[in-house]
C-alpha cells in the first residue's frame, strides 16, 4: 500500500506535459507512416474493386470502332455515348439481336422459383435445427456440411445422366430443383443463426398459451425473423442468378432456355462478337444483382457472418 502511494506520488510530481512528450515522439512518425500506408491501401482497394465495373460500363456505351482506335481511354464524352450495344444485346434473335430479353426472363424464373422453394423448405428446417431436440440432428447437420463442401463436379455427372434419361435437360424447373438442393444448407445455416437470437421466453409463452411448435414458428418466430428471411432469400436469389456450371450442363442444347450467364458465355464462343457487346451483356447480367445487393447489404453481411465474432 505504501509502495502504491509512493508511485502515485512520483507520478503526480511529473508535469503532465512532460509525460505525454515522453511517450508520443517515438510514435508519431511511425504512426504517420502507417496512417499514410493505410490511406494508400484504401485507395488501392477501391480502385481494384471499382475500376473493372467502371471499365465495363464505359466500354458498353462506346462505339466499337472508337474502342479499337483508343483502347486506353476510361471515360466517355456525353456526345459519344451510344446505346447500340444494348440494343444489339437485348433485341430478339429474330430481329438480329442476341435475345437477352428471353434470357433475363429465364434467369428470373429460375432464381425466383429457387428462392421460393428454398425458403419454404429452409424456414421450418432452420427452426427445427435451432429450437427442437430430436435424434439424428447431428447427422443431418453433417449431411448439410457435405453438400456445402463437396465438389459440384462429382454431383454434376450423375445429375447429367439422370436428367438426360428423364428428358429433363433443357428444363428450367429441373435446374431450379438442383439449385434448391445446393442452397438449402446455406439458407438453413443463415436462418438458424437468426432464430437462435430470438428470446426463447417468447416462444415458450406461445407454447404455454396452447400453440403447437408449428404455430409458434408461424405466429411468433417467423414474423420476428422477416429481416433475416429477406437477407437469406436475396442471397439464394444471387446464387441462382449467378450460377454457371449446371446451367451449362443442363441447358446448352436448348438456346431458348438459356439463362443470362449461359447466354453471355456463349456470345464469345461462336462468332467474333465485339467486346462492347460483351460488356453490354455483362452490365445486363450484373445490374440486377448489384442493385439487390446494395438494397440489402447490411442485413446480408450480418446474416453471413453472424457467428464469426465468436471466433
Amino acid at each position: 500500500m505504501s509502495a502504491e502511494t509512493v508511485v502515485r506520488g512520483t507520478e503526480s510530481q511529473v508535469p503532465p506535459r512532460a509525460a505525454t512528450a515522453r511517450k508520443r515522439p517515438q510514435h508519431t512518425t511511425e504512426e504517420k507512416v502507417w496512417g499514410t500506408l493505410r490511406v494508400l491501401t484504401i485507395v488501392f482497394l477501391v480502385l481494384i474493386t471499382v475500376m473493372p465495373f467502371w471499365y465495363m460500363v464505359v466500354l458498353s456505351v462506346r462505339p466499337i470502332a472508337e474502342v479499337v482506335l483508343n483502347p486506353g481511354k476510361i471515360w466517355v464524352g456525353l456526345s459519344e455515348i451510344t446505346t447500340a450495344s444494348y440494343q444489339a444485346v437485348l433485341r430478339s434473335t429474330d430481329a438480329g439481336g442476341q435475345g437477352f430479353m428471353t434470357f433475363l426472363r429465364n434467369s428470373a424464373f429460375v432464381a425466383v422459383v429457387t428462392t421460393a422453394v428454398t425458403l419454404l423448405a429452409a424456414i421450418p428446417g432452420a427452426y427445427a435445427v435451432s429450437r427442437l431436440r430430436f435424434g439424428g440432428r447431428k447427422i443431418v447437420s453433417g449431411m448439410f456440411l457435405v453438400v456445402y463442401l463437396f465438389p459440384p463436379m462429382v454431383l454434376a455427372i450423375p445429375l447429367f445422366v439422370l436428367f438426360t434419361r428423364l428428358g429433363l435437360r433443357g428444363s428450367l424447373s429441373g435446374l431450379a430443383l438442383v439449385y434448391v438442393a445446393q442452397t438449402v444448407p446455406v439458407a438453413i445455416y443463415m436462418l438458424r443463426n437468426y432464430f437462435q437470437t430470438i428470446p426463447e421466453s417468447l416462444e415458450e409463452a406461445g407454447l404455454i398459451d396452447g400453440l403447437t411448435h408449428f404455430g409458434v414458428l408461424r405466429r411468433i418466430s417467423l414474423p420476428l425473423a422477416i429481416p433475416s428471411v429477406t437477407a437469406t432469400g436475396l442471397y439464394v436469389f444471387m446464387i441462382a442468378w449467378n450460377e454457371f456450371l449446371f446451367a451449362l450442363l443442363f441447358l446448352l442444347e436448348a438456346p431458348d432456355k438459356w439463362t443470362v450467364s449461359l447466354g453471355l458465355s456463349r456470345l464469345s464462343g461462336s462468332i467474333e462478337v465485339p467486346s462492347t457487346i460483351l460488356m453490354a451483356g455483362s452490365v445486363v447480367l450484373t445490374v440486377p444483382i448489384v442493385v439487390l445487393f446494395f438494397f440489402a447489404e447490411r442485413k446480408l453481411v450480418e446474416g453471413l457472418t453472424s457467428g464469426a465474432e465468436k471466433g
Partner: protein, 336 residues
C-alpha cells in the same frame, strides 16, 4: 464456427428419465417425443431434397466411376453391371494428369493465400471508423457478388492484347515492349526466370474475386476485439507492427484457420473461373476442367466420374491430413 446451444433450462423440464419414458409409452406421447416428432417433420422436406438431389447422386457417381458408361449407351447403363477399374487406370495413366494435379494445387494454394492476405489487409485498413467507411465496405464486396461470367469477361476484355486497357496502359505508361497475352501465354521469362503467366493471372483473378469473402469474416472478428487491449499495448509503447503481431493477429488466427480450410476447399473444387478465363489452356488445366472435358468432349461418363471421384478423394485426403496435423500441433502446444 458456431457453437450449438444446448437445451434451455425451462424446456429441460420436459426431459424424462428412462423409466418414466417406459411407463408412458403406452399412453399419449410425452412433450419430448412430440418435440422430436415435430422437429423431424419440419426438417423432412429439406432432408428429402438433399438426399435425392445430392447424396444419392454422389453415391451413383461412385458406381459410375467403376463402369464403362458412355453418353451414347447411357440408356443401357444400370447399377449392377460390369464393374471395372479401367476408368481409374485411364485417369492415372493419361497424359497430363499429374501435371493437372500440380496445377490444381498451385492454383488452390495461390488463390487461398492471396485472397486471405488481401482480405486481411483490407480488414485492417478499414478497422477504424471514418467518413464513408460504410460505402467503401459495401463497394469492396462487389467482386464477390458479381456473376462469375461478367467478372471473367471484364478481365478477359481488359487483358486482351489488342484492345484491352491493361496492355494499352502497360505499353504507354510502363514501357512494356509489346502487349502481353496474359491468358494465353503458358510461360514467359522475366530476368531469365520462367513465369507461368496464365496460371498467375488466374490466381490473381481468384485473389481479386474472393478477398471480399475473407474480408467480411475478418472485419466481423476484428470489430469484436475489445479496444482496451490494443489501447493498453499502445500505452505500453508497442509499435504498430507489434500491436498487430501480438494483439490483433492472435485474435484473428481461429477465423483465418477456418477461412483457409473453406477457401482451400472451394478453390480446389472450382470450375467456372478457370473454364471461363482460359478454357483450361496455357497451363491452367485444373482437374475439374478435365472432368468437364471428359464428360462433354469425350462423352465418356465413366471416365469423367472416375476423374471426379479422384478429385474428391484428393480433397478429402488433404483435409484429413490438415485437421490431423493441426490437432497434433495443438496437443503438442498443450503438452509443452
Amino acid at each position: 464456427m458456431t457453437t450449438t446451444r444446448t437445451g434451455p433450462p425451462t424446456a429441460g423440464s420436459a426431459r424424462t428419465g428412462p423409466e418414466e419414458t417406459k411407463r408412458r409409452r403406452g399412453r399419449a406421447p410425452t412433450l419430448r417425443q412430440l418435440e422430436a416428432r415435430t422437429g423431424r417433420l419440419l426438417l423432412s422436406p429439406t432432408v428429402l431434397i438433399v438426399l435425392v438431389i445430392v447424396i444419392l447422386p454422389i453415391l451413383w457417381a461412385i458406381v459410375l466411376a467403376f463402369q464403362r458408361v458412355r453418353l451414347l449407351n447411357i440408356r443401357r447403363a444400370n447399377l449392377f453391371s460390369n464393374y471395372t477399374l479401367a476408368n481409374f487406370e485411364t485417369v492415372f495413366t493419361s497424359p497430363g494428369f499429374w501435371e493437372s494435379l500440380r496445377t490444381t494445387l498451385i492454383y488452390t494454394i495461390g488463390g487461398t493465400v492471396g485472397s486471405i492476405l488481401l482480405g486481411l489487409v483490407a480488414a485492417l485498413a478499414l478497422r477504424r471508423p471514418f467518413r464513408g467507411r460504410g460505402v467503401i465496405r459495401a463497394v469492396m464486396l462487389l467482386p464477390y457478388v458479381t456473376p462469375v461470367v461478367a467478372a471473367t469477361f471484364v478481365w478477359t476484355v481488359a487483358l486482351n492484347p489488342n484492345f484491352g486497357i491493361v496492355n494499352a496502359w502497360g505499353t504507354r505508361f510502363l514501357g512494356w515492349d509489346e502487349p502481353i497475352a496474359f491468358l494465353s501465354t503458358q510461360s514467359s521469362s522475366l530476368f531469365g526466370i520462367p513465369i507461368p503467366t496464365a496460371l498467375l493471372t488466374v490466381i490473381a483473378f481468384e485473389t481479386w474475386r474472393y478477398f471480399p469473402f475473407a474480408f467480411l469474416f475478418l472485419v466481423a472478428r476484428i470489430q469484436a476485439i475489445p479496444g482496451d487491449l490494443d489501447e493498453a499495448a499502445r500505452v505500453d509503447g508497442a509499435t504498430v507492427w507489434q500491436r498487430f503481431r501480438y494483439v490483433i493477429l492472435p485474435q484473428l488466427m481461429p477465423v483465418i484457420a477456418v477461412l483457409a480450410v473453406l477457401r482451400f476447399i472451394f478453390t480446389f473444387n472450382k470450375f467456372d473461373d478457370v473454364y471461363l478465363l482460359t478454357g483450361g489452356g496455357a497451363g491452367t488445366e485444373v482437374i475439374s476442367v478435365r472432368v468437364y472435358e471428359y464428360l462433354t468432349a469425350n462423352k465418356d461418363v465413366g471416365l469423367a466420374a472416375a476423374q471426379a471421384v479422384v478429385l474428391a478423394l484428393v480433397l478429402v485426403f488433404l483435409i484429413v491430413f490438415y485437421l490431423r496435423s493441426t490437432a497434433r500441433a495443438e496437443r503438442a502446444e498443450q503438452g509443452g
